[in-house]
């Protein structure tokens, strides 16, 4: 069944709206340097590299080729993997497969993006079918707004419920020095008051009903890197490890119009698969923490249901009962999540790194109090795809 694999190091750049002071390669290099330092190894210890981003955003196609100096891949195997929003998780999965195969001891996964270099919505539209979808698609914002329309219609969910997710993510981000959005004005204010402000303030521009500015992720320049190591090597590399317990990904349809909008099938099925592999029967009780790819607020409601953390229509209850807050039973996105930093190709890899650091208890001010044995990280993208990775404090059986 392959070798057991652990994460031994994680590094990221500060996530910012624009990093004019570095080009793509230099940005990548910052994250790689940080990850090597975190694992206390040098680039010589890396056997192979998997790198990814979404080509559309920078208009440059061969990052595996032109990044080799910054990525630390000179005269080493390097492979590019790009799967849209899930890219960051797919590079993690791919690095994991490399190591699990037994052919590589330490593999570096890199995700990055310079979203400041193009119009993000325009670039996202080019990921969809030119004949059947592009003529009238409204990028990620409109694509997610329509999902919310159905979810609200099905369960009587309100804009306040969406805003409560946004408040959680942004309050959490205040603890994360790396996060892009630091909404200091929120500090110390009551949750109810913040929710009220978000749904009534005219400054909070309506983008596509029901999504206001506060319901969406930002566009970010940033990079992340994670080092995966094989059993035997991992224990000698680092004292604190986060083991890969299981991973799964799912794609279903060709076109957005084919999707079952009532249920996120790919996310639900991928989560079910990793829970089954780890023997988890009651995810809400047995998972200790989540770093989820939630690009918009309503994902924090509907997708929680679809992954089996609660029943259909119960997402808002989980949220308002504070179960997913920092000190709740199941803290979700202590980092502030995607809605606080979104360097797209790096975004899902940040979920993996942040989840690993929570297990290793290296998260600084955003470290949760409780013990973290199982942490779930997810990626979401494209035509409703899902990549999921479950990390564990214990070496899997």
């Amino acid at each position: 069944m392959g070798k057991k694999v652990a994460i031994v190091g994680f590094g990221q750049t500060y996530q910012r709206s624009s990093r004019r002071d570095v080009n793509g390669v230099e940005l990548i290099n910052e994250a790689v340097t940080a990850a090597l330092a975190d694992a206390d190894i040098t680039i010589k210890d890396i056997d192979a590299v998997v790198i990814g981003n979404m080509d559309h955003f920078e208009g440059i196609n061969y990052v595996d080729m032109w990044s080799v100096e910054g990525a630390g891949a000179v005269m080493k195997p390097i492979i590019k993997v790009t799967t849209g929003g899930t890219t960051g998780m797919t590079v993690a999965m791919s690095a994991y497969y490399h190591v699990a195969s037994g052919m590589f001891d330490r593999v570096l996964a890199i995700g990055w993006e310079k979203n400041s270099e193009s119009d993000t919505t325009g670039a996202i539209i080019t990921a969809f079918h030119p004949v059947w979808e592009r003529p009238n698609l409204g990028g990620a914002i409109a694509g997610l707004a329509v999902e919310a329309s159905k979810y609200m219609d099905n369960y009587g969910v309100t804009e306040r419920d969406g805003a409560r997710v946004a408040v959680r993510e942004r309050l959490h981000a205040l603890n994360n020095p790396y996060a892009h959005l630091h909404q200091e004005w929120m500090k110390g204010m009551e949750v109810d008051k913040l929710v009220e402000l978000l749904v009534t303030s005219e400054q909070n521009q309506m983008l596509a009903y029901p999504l206001r500015m506060s319901d969406m992720c930002p566009r970010t320049d940033g990079a992340a890197a994670v080092v995966f190591a094989s059993e035997g090597v991992a224990e000698k590399t680092a004292s604190k490890l986060a083991w890969v317990a299981a991973t799964a990904n799912r794609h279903d349809f060709v076109f957005l119009g084919d999707i079952d909008w009532d249920f996120n099938q790919t996310m639900g099925d991928a989560a079910k698969k990793v829970f089954a592999k780890a023997g988890i029967k009651d995810p809400l009780k047995e998972i200790d923490l989540c770093e989820l790819y939630l690009p918009y607020s309503y994902g924090g409601l509907k997708w929680m249901e679809n992954m089996g953390f609660c029943g259909p229509g119960e997402g808002p209850r989980l949220l308002w009962d504070k179960i997913t807050d920092m000190d709740g039973e199941l803290p979700v996105n202590p980092s502030g999540g995607v809605m606080s930093s979104n360097p797209i190709g790096a975004t899902a890899l940040l979920r993996v790194g942040e989840a690993a650091w929570q297990i290793m208890r290296k998260s600084g001010p955003r470290q949760v109090q409780k013990n973290v044995n199982y942490a779930l990280a997810t990626g979401f993208g494209g035509c409703s795809w899902a990549d999921v990775m479950l990390l564990s404090s214990k070496k899997p059986a």
Binding site: R20, I125, V131, R134, P135, N136, G138, D153, G257
Partner: protein
């Protein structure tokens, strides 16, 4: 040196007005759909011989059943809104290179007789009309070129 000045001296190079035109094959099924739309204002789906799903836009393979589809079935120019929104933010439309005019109604419409939905513009930005489950009817362009945009938009009934 002030931060502002520093920022100014960090250069970024514009791609200018560079454009890269493409020619996308739409295949046999896609061609039939677009030709019928262009010439006769008729809409067609393709039916899976195994699961019976009617796909619009038509395609060759039902991925669920791994079955080839060749049976064209007519679908109506009326249908129902599956999901929808009113887009209020503007962005560069990569098809035209210009800012998309806003606001506009946007929905995935399941045509009567089809099992999948197509994305399109609505004629309304009235939040009381643009609703899940609302009935709609296709409005065709006078001059049609063989594109999905030969449907100008869907009128909310």
């Amino acid at each position: 040196m002030t931060e502002q000045k520093q920022e100014k001296e960090l250069l970024a190079i514009s791609s200018g007005d560079a454009a890269q035109p493409f020619r996308w094959s739409v295949g046999k099924h896609g061609s039939k759909f677009l030709a019928e739309l262009r010439d006769n204002k008729k809409l067609f789906g393709v039916k899976c011989p195994k699961c019976g799903r009617v796909y619009v836009p038509p395609r060759m393979v039902c991925g669920r059943c791994w079955a080839q589809m060749d049976e064209f079935v007519p679908v109506k120019d009326t249908g129902e809104i599956v999901v929808c929104t009113i887009v209020q933010f503007s962005f560069v439309d990569p098809n035209t290179g210009i800012q998309r005019p806003v606001p506009y109604g946007y929905a995935f419409v399941k045509l009567d007789g089809a099992d999948t939905a197509i994305p399109h513009f609505l004629d309304s930005t009235d939040p009381d009309k643009v609703k899940v489950g609302a009935r709609v009817k296709a409005v065709f362009e006078e001059k049609r070129t063989g594109s999905l945009m030969d449907i100008k938009h869907f009128a909310v009934l």
